[in-house]
Symmetry: C2
Subunit: 385 residues, 2 copies
């Protein structure tokens, strides 16, 4: 397999983009990435999108988006793995370049969530869970993550305030990201007093509904070194794993096994340990998710994710800053785009372009993106070369 | 890139499978393929599915189907490119094995179309067209292909009877396929007198709504030769291309440019010309589609697809039998599964396992799968080694 690097990144301002359609927001992000990479062509394209069928009545994004980007007739592939669709697009694009099939590959992610055509957004998102055994009985994602939160609190003594601290930290980070949907700083009291969604999770524990897109350009490392005018970010590890789709099939509600396994594969491929990671972007769809995930990634011991967050380990300036972009919580969560945007934040940090929220001496970063209640996870490790 | 071969195939009887859910029919086909390949594990999985979100309210098939197949935690990827999702799954699986990332890869396709949850099947299928500029104005696929048929008849003198002959031939072939949804032989008169759908296309010009799944097992060629007890089918060419999603953006309604380009790439990679192909499975979603496609593939001159069909060139026993499986028309068209089922028919023919419908001395076969009105196409060429 050939070594692969990221040579360009592009992302638009996320939010409720009522004046733009799916094709508009994707094209904008893709053109920004092409401009950043300073390439004059692309050879193939991978698009992460969870449910454009339910959100805007449009499938066949491969044809639509190459068409509107003016890139037809290049091959294009849309991949879907619920909220990890963006991370999966990065991985399939990586495999394409690594195989030698294509050289300059655009990996994009997109979701247009605020123009819901028929179903509500909650129904569209619920299709990431088990339709026959979970959704049919009325459960939606806040409920599933609430079960995980209650189990974690019961077993490990994780507190309401520790959950809130994830949101406080990520909004603090997001306040330094001009592209974030909700760049407002918030306090733990505001989280704890916000409206209840699914006990113990309140509205400020939940990531928002967002329109947004993100894109990166991949190239073989050798070519990247020749053509890139910016620091080249090599992808040194890639792990991908699945778990049962339904939460009720898991032995332990507090563990994200698919992330543990994907991380193990990525660490081995990269020859890195958790201690050698300088910063990470992880899947904080709900505050409890970030606590479980930093444990699954080995940044905190099992059951210690809450105290680690409370004591600042994952805050900018701490031992391992997590979600310096603002994460899903503050930056927004257009589900298909999230995994690609994580790679953008790590690239910007490793290039030293993160401005106010720059992590000092960041050389190695990690992204973790997951689908559903952890039914799929994708982990990448990147190093500036 | 490593050479890649097909070492196992599996498909269930297609039809209106009201007693089975999406997960049931996929698992059945996948287990048949695993049994046929006689492998004791798989390393990763690719799933072609167009719109399980709209058809059954379920995305995240990567997690669901590894779970129900008992294959978690292996990595799994769902790909979508409308009706070419199955062909795309084959191509992404091929790239995965070629890259060296994984060895034994299951490529499956599935669609459950008769349990439509909210929208009708016609709406779900229409999401393969341009939602904003075609579907919004009321056009659906029979209408789009009717425009192509009228243009072909006007420019080249293609006749109503020649269109009918595509259906007659494919139902004749399908009558020898025990897994076909509609294995009844039909006559040209029956086609021409069947109920009108979109002038000039009648119901017997249209492929049906189908529940079905299909799966193949891929392996690196070297490993395949060691472990396979059956003739090994090497994938010697793979081409993938896109075109404008909307028909109104094309210069010529009679040409499938994405197929022309995908075929050119596949022929070059395989070092084969159209004359060296012994049989083909092509995308006859409507009768006119097969006529345009055999021209795009170089089996007939431009404009001569109608007469070539009428004179038996593509019938079993003719110069190049097309759709010996019965094609989409008779075998059925569960959209995500179709491209994978095409690879199954070619594999069975090249192995000499096609029974009554066996093409004599078949050594090289081709599959052509397309999305929408030709917005995406995927062509593969296979040779028995």
């Amino acid at each position: 397999m050939r070594d692969v690097a990221i040579i360009g990144v592009g992302m638009n301002k996320w939010g409720e983009l009522w004046e733009s359609s799916l094709r508009d927001i994707f094209t904008e992000a893709a053109l920004l990435a092409i401009e950043d990479a300073e390439v004059d062509h692309i050879d193939s394209m991978y698009i992460g999108c969870m449910s454009s069928g339910l959100f805007v009545g449009q499938e066949h994004l491969s044809s639509l988006l190459t068409d509107y980007l003016g890139m037809g007739p290049i091959p294009a592939t849309r991949v879907e793995s619920a909220c990890s669709s963006g991370g999966l697009a990065l991985r399939t694009g990586l495999i394409d370049v690594a195989s030698g099939m294509n050289d300059i590959v655009l990996v994009g992610g997109v979701e247009k969530m605020t123009d819901v055509s028929v179903h509500g957004a909650t129904f569209a998102l619920s299709t990431a869970a088990d339709q026959e055994y979970e959704v049919y009985h009325g459960v939606t994602f806040p409920g599933l993550y609430a079960l995980m939160a209650r189990a974690h609190m019961h077993r490990y003594g994780t507190t309401r305030k520790q959950l809130a601290q994830v949101a406080v930290k990520n909004h603090y980070h997001g306040s330094m990201n001009p592209l974030a949907q909700y760049p407002q700083k918030i306090t733990a009291e505001e989280v704890i007093e916000s409206v209840m969604v699914a006990d113990p999770l309140r509205i400020l524990d939940c990531s928002p509904i967002t329109d947004g897109a993100a894109a990166v350009i991949l190239a073989p490392l050798d070519l990247a070194k020749k053509i890139s005018k910016k620091p080249v970010v090599k992808i040194i590890g890639s792990g991908h794993a699945t778990d049962t789709i339904a939460l009720h099939s898991r032995k332990d509600l507090t563990e994200i096994k698919s992330t543990e396994r994907a991380a193990k594969i990525a660490y081995e491929m990269a020859s890195k340990s958790p201690e050698e990671i300088h910063l990470a972007e992880v899947h904080d769809c709900f505050t409890i998710a970030e606590i479980c995930v930093i444990e699954a990634l080995g940044f905190a011991e099992k059951g210690k994710g809450g105290p680690a967050t409370e004591h600042g380990m994952t805050t900018l300036g701490g031992k391992i800053p997590v979600n310096t972009s603002g994460g899903l919580k503050s930056k927004g969560h257009p589900v298909g785009a999230t995994g690609v945007a994580q790679a953008i934040e790590i690239t910007k940090q490793l290039r030293g372009e993160a401005g106010e929220r720059q992590v000092k001496n960041a050389k190695v970063g990690l992204t973790q993106n997951m689908g559903g209640s952890g039914g799929s996870s994708i982990v990448h490790i990147m190093e500036v070369v």
